[in-house]
């Protein structure tokens, strides 16, 4: 699946949970949301993204290791 599409969605989730100020807890919440609502092939495609990808928000980079 198109990586840009998934990166945009993941970033958007991270942004909307930004009220959680502890970065660890916030990454957990984002990962939890993704596990709850994303179909496995979407998660796989997100995991295939290079963590150095310039569009990934720092929070989502931390999420990658939690999925």
């Amino acid at each position: 699946m198109n990586a840009e599409y998934l990166i945009k969605m993941a970033n958007q989730i991270a942004l909307n949970l930004a009220y959680e100020q502890d970065p660890e807890r916030r990454a957990d919440m984002v990962a939890g949301h993704i596990r709850k609502f994303w179909e496995p092939r979407m998660i796989e495609a997100l995991l295939a993204v290079d963590p150095a990808h310039p569009d990934l928000s720092p929070c989502v980079v931390a999420v990658l290791t939690r999925l």
């Binding site: 599409y5 009220y19 609502f37 092939r41």
Partner: protein, 952 residues
């Protein structure tokens, strides 16, 4: 089998019920009668089985006392008081008949008849005329005045309305129509012109009905005791001979109707008095727009084709099922189990929706099922579940009668939920206060005898900043309901939220620059909401269809908890649902991550329950949501889709993207009543049945489960649940339901909130609001009474994150989309009725300032472009819009409104952001490229369809 439901009472008791609890005893014709204080003598007599003659009284309207045919004798009182306007009193002794009373009544009737055309035998109301009945009851035998004196028999008919005719020569000036338009509908379109002999009912200022304010709700037609206001179908077909009680299939109000039938023909639809959602009222769609059911465009036979550029082949049901099933199995063999999925419909019944998700989970073997609620109210499910624990509105519609402050956010009830709109306006006329939060000037803002206290005209896309400012104001001014918060809400969550919301970045002064709402106005509105008594929030798609739809729903729930507005009549959080069964389709497990009853697929104990019942093992990972299905289709990993009763090619955003996705499917199975836009990309076309042709249930916006009853056989031979069952059998998964009641029994067994629901129970109670279980055997009108479903209410911080869809030099305007009264959703049904008289095409509304800047005049062709695409619509210059904001509807496919909407979506649920698109508008002379292609494809696919039908 057609099941008839026998209504408990359909008698007109003359005047409305009194709500008083203290009882009065009186004597009527020698009988002791006990009734609530405030009851009229007429109603008391009717309750005792005595029908006092009447003409101007009817129990849906306040009594008026003009016809004088209802007079009675009361011991100790002089004269002959009108029984409809005389309230009962303790010990009263009433006589309803005597030679003197009869003589007076005869005189009254004689006067009416002397000015009435005596063509009863050929009159459309023959057999259903109250004037005729009363003449019979009083025994009038001669008319002394004759017809030679001046009369009104020459007055011309008004046939301007496509659905009813006004024949003033038959009018008895009882003013029931005038009062129905005022009291029931709240439009005030009718008046009695001048006085005495020249008096005449007129729409507006002597206009035709069509040119007046009339919204064609039909309340006046229903109230008229004579043939003066008659449905054209009754004039054409005559009086019905039986009726079937059923539920409207248009909007989420879920009005209850009597389908008045003659054999298999619907003569007219009469809103059912005992229907708890509508209390005997209806709108132009449900009451009149049923002609689509017998429209010549209906698909009547299953059809298949190998490729979408081939003509359709008409086949038997069996061949269609085999063809579809073998394609699905081939695709799964080649691309994997997860390469197929389905979309359930919010227009189909609960039972049908349940079966489609069961087919996906049990026969396809995955969770790739979603519903069109994805594109409208999925954020409601998310936000309310996270904060309160249940994905549904908290009240019944009756609740509004106890509301002191109504806050309507991003909803347009007078157009999109008309019957609720009327009930709301009634409450506003009684003095409830109103706050409207909407970028547009909506009709609700001002009506006869009321006016909104505040119109917070925010910029599209700034909802969350607004709701945060409301909460901030309430906190900073100390207006929160501390006891409620302490007793009912989670304290840790509240403290976290409190420190979030107290920050000055949420103050109205700080958010004013974002929302455009003046801080003083917002503060005043917040005070009113917090301190005005029972405050209720009603919201619509203007809340959900945003990139922060879920956040906004959460913010609304926070605000209601903060002010203690939960758990009793008059308060709460009330989503106004778009389509008739949005609530039901969500309840029934249409979401890819949830089994019926909103239970996550990863919960092994829930899975086990269904695995045992369905005799299969179930996938434990969420499936694809609709937008994800499109992405996967384009990426090549999603190849087959079964789409029941939805037109995703027209209703979903970014049409060209959707078309690309549909075009890349190897098997698209469409089940619908018409060749819709989606069907143009289909390989299998399965004819659907309208709500008149099947049994089942719908669940409306107040969680009310109501029966849909079959009034005529399905045109193509199968109800929709039977079609799904046939497809399942061809896939090798057998379902053996004989009747939808058996499907409901299974739902009740497997879903705690439906535990007490059955068809027998629904017949008994009329309708049931879930949860219905041992604790609430009669259902639950008001939720969260003593505690929230989740236990302690959860405050959740709601950070405002501006949408990426922002205006810039290239796209300087914001486009927002909406609905209008006479058309419904993608319009497939309403466009095939006379409702087009009100809305023949979608137009672009824009502010005079924006129009002038671009040299655009009313009626010009305007090209609207966004980064997703371009389309052309006609302009309507209107100051309902703010400068910089333009508006359109998407009821007609050719308009291509969704060609311009983008695939931006809600962060939590992927609900598309229909309400905000950055666009440019300019004057053009020809249609857009997309529209040209659309025209071409449309005529090509229609040709393929007619070729197949010629063959058959």
């Amino acid at each position: 089998m057609i099941g008839y439901f026998d209504p408990k009472t359909d008698r007109d008791l003359g005047t409305p019920a009194s709500l008083s609890t203290s009882l009065i005893t009186l004597e009527i014709d020698g009988e002791q009668v006990q009734v609530p204080e405030g009851t009229s003598v007429m109603r008391a007599a009717a309750l005792a089985g005595i029908n006092i003659p009447k003409l101007c009284a009817t129990d849906s309207l306040k009594s008026f006392g003009s016809c004088r045919v209802c007079l009675v004798e009361i011991e100790g009182r002089r004269g002959y008081p009108a029984s409809c306007t005389t309230p009962v009193s303790e010990g009263m002794v009433v006589r309803t008949e005597s030679p003197r009373i009869n003589k007076l009544r005869k005189n009254v009737m004689e006067l009416y008849i002397s000015d009435h055309p005596l063509d009863c035998l050929t009159c459309p109301s023959n057999g259903n005329c109250e004037l005729q009945d009363m003449v019979g009851v009083v025994g009038l035998r001669e008319v002394r005045y004759g017809l030679s004196v001046s009369n009104h028999l020459h007055l011309p008919k008004d046939t301007s309305n496509p659905y009813f005719t006004f024949d003033p020569s038959k009018c008895i000036l009882c003013s029931r129509c005038v009062r129905a338009c005022e009291e029931t509908q709240g439009t005030f379109a009718l008046t009695i012109n001048s006085r005495g002999f020249d008096s005449k009912i007129s729409a507006g200022a002597n206009e035709s009905f069509m040119d007046s304010e009339c919204v064609s709700c039909g309340a006046c037609v229903q109230a008229c005791p004579t043939a003066t206001l008659s449905e054209n179908t009754v004039i054409e077909f005559g009086q019905a001979e039986h009726s079937v009680i059923t539920t409207c299939a248009y909007c989420g109000v879920g009005c209850s109707f009597k389908a008045e039938m003659k054999g298999n023909q619907v003569v007219n639809m009469v809103p059912y008095k005992d229907g708890k959602a509508n209390r005997g009222h209806a709108c132009v769609k449900g009451r009149f727009a049923f002609g689509y059911a017998t429209h010549q465009d209906r698909i009547t036979q299953p059809m298949i084709r190998d490729r979408i550029d081939q003509p359709w082949r008409t086949v038997s049901w069996d061949e269609a099922f085999q063809f579809a099933a073998s394609r699905i199995r081939q695709i799964q063999a080649q691309y994997g189990t997860n390469s197929v999925g389905a979309i359930t419909s919010s227009r189909c019944t609960n039972e049908e929706t349940y079966l489609v998700q069961k087919l996906v989970r049990a026969a396809f073997g995955n969770n790739n099922v979603d519903t069109c609620a994805r594109v409208c109210h999925s954020p409601t499910g998310y936000g309310l579940k996270m904060t309160l624990g249940e994905s549904a509105g908290t009240q019944d519609f009756d609740s509004v009668e106890h509301t002191d402050v109504v806050m309507v956010i991003g909803a347009n009830p007078t157009d999109a939920h008309p019957v609720f709109g009327s009930r709301l306006k009634k409450r506003l006329r009684q003095g409830a206060r109103l706050i409207v939060v909407d970028p547009r000037q909506i009709d609700l803002l001002k009506g006869p005898h009321y006016q909104a206290d505040h119109h917070l005209q925010l910029r599209p896309g700034t909802n969350v900043a607004f709701i945060n400012a409301m909460a901030h104001t309430i906190i900073s001014e100390g207006l929160e309901h501390s006891d409620f918060i302490a007793q009912r809400c989670d304290q840790a969550a509240y403290q976290q939220w409190l420190s979030f919301i107290s920050d000055s970045r949420h103050s109205p002064e700080a958010t004013e620059a974002i929302t455009g709402i003046p801080a003083t106005e917002l503060r005043a509105a917040a005070r009113l909401y917090a301190q005005g008594g029972n405050s209720a929030i009603y919201y619509g798609l203007g809340v959900t269809e945003h990139s922060q739809g879920s956040t906004m729903v959460t913010g609304i729930a926070n605000l209601a908890m903060l002010t203690g507005n939960f758990g009793r009549p008059g308060v709460g959080v009330n989503p106004l649902r778009g389509q008739n069964n949005v609530q039901g389709s969500c309840d029934m497990g249409s979401f890819p991550h949830e089994l019926p009853g909103y239970r996550h697929v990863s919960d092994s104990s829930v899975r086990q329950l269904f695995e045992q019942a369905w005799q299969v093992s179930l996938a434990d990972q969420p499936g694809l949501r609709i937008p994800n299905m499109f992405e996967a289709a384009i990426a090549g990993s999603f190849k087959a889709l079964y789409c029941q009763g939805e037109d995703i090619a027209q209703s979903d955003p970014n049409t060209q993207h959707v078309e690309a996705a549909l075009g890349s499917l190897e098997c698209l199975i469409v089940q619908d009543i018409f060749l819709n836009e989606t069907a143009k990309y289909a390989h299998v076309l399965l004819p659907g049945a309208t709500f008149l042709e099947k049994n089942g249930t719908f669940t409306n916006a107040e969680r009310r489960i109501a029966r849909v009853r079959k009034a005529m056989p399905p045109l193509a031979g199968k109800e929709d649940w039977q079609v799904t069952q046939g497809l399942a059998a061809a896939l090798g998964y057998t379902m053996t339901y004989q009747h939808p009641s058996e499907i409901m029994d299974e739902i009740a067994r497997l879903t705690p909130s439906f535990q007490g629901v059955s068809y027998a129970r629904l017949d008994e109670l009329g309708s049931i609001q879930w949860p219905c279980n041992d604790e609430h055997p009669l259902g639950t009108p008001v939720m969260h009474e003593d505690s929230f479903t989740i236990g302690q209410g959860q405050f959740i911080p709601t950070e405002f994150v501006p949408t990426e869809e922002r205006v810039n030099g290239r796209y300087p305007l914001l486009l927002t989309t909406g609905r209008i009264l006479s058309q419904y959703n993608v319009g497939a049904q309403t466009r095939r009725t006379a409702n087009v008289a009100w809305h023949a095409e979608d137009v672009l509304e824009l502010h005079p300032h924006d129009a002038e800047e671009r040299g655009i005049n009313d009626g010009d062709w305007v090209g609207i472009s966004s980064r997703a695409g371009q389309t052309v619509l006609r302009a309507r210059v209107s100051s309902r819009m703010q400068p910089g904001v333009v508006y359109t509807t998407f009821h007609h496919p050719f308009s291509g409104a969704n060609v311009i909407t983008t695939d931006n979506s809600d962060w939590a649920t992927n609900c598309p952001e229909y309400k905000v698109t950055a666009v440019q508008a300019e004057k053009v002379t020809e249609i857009s490229k997309w529209q040209e292609r659309f025209r071409h494809l449309d005529s090509y696919q229609r040709q393929l369809l007619s070729e197949s039908q010629a063959e058959a």
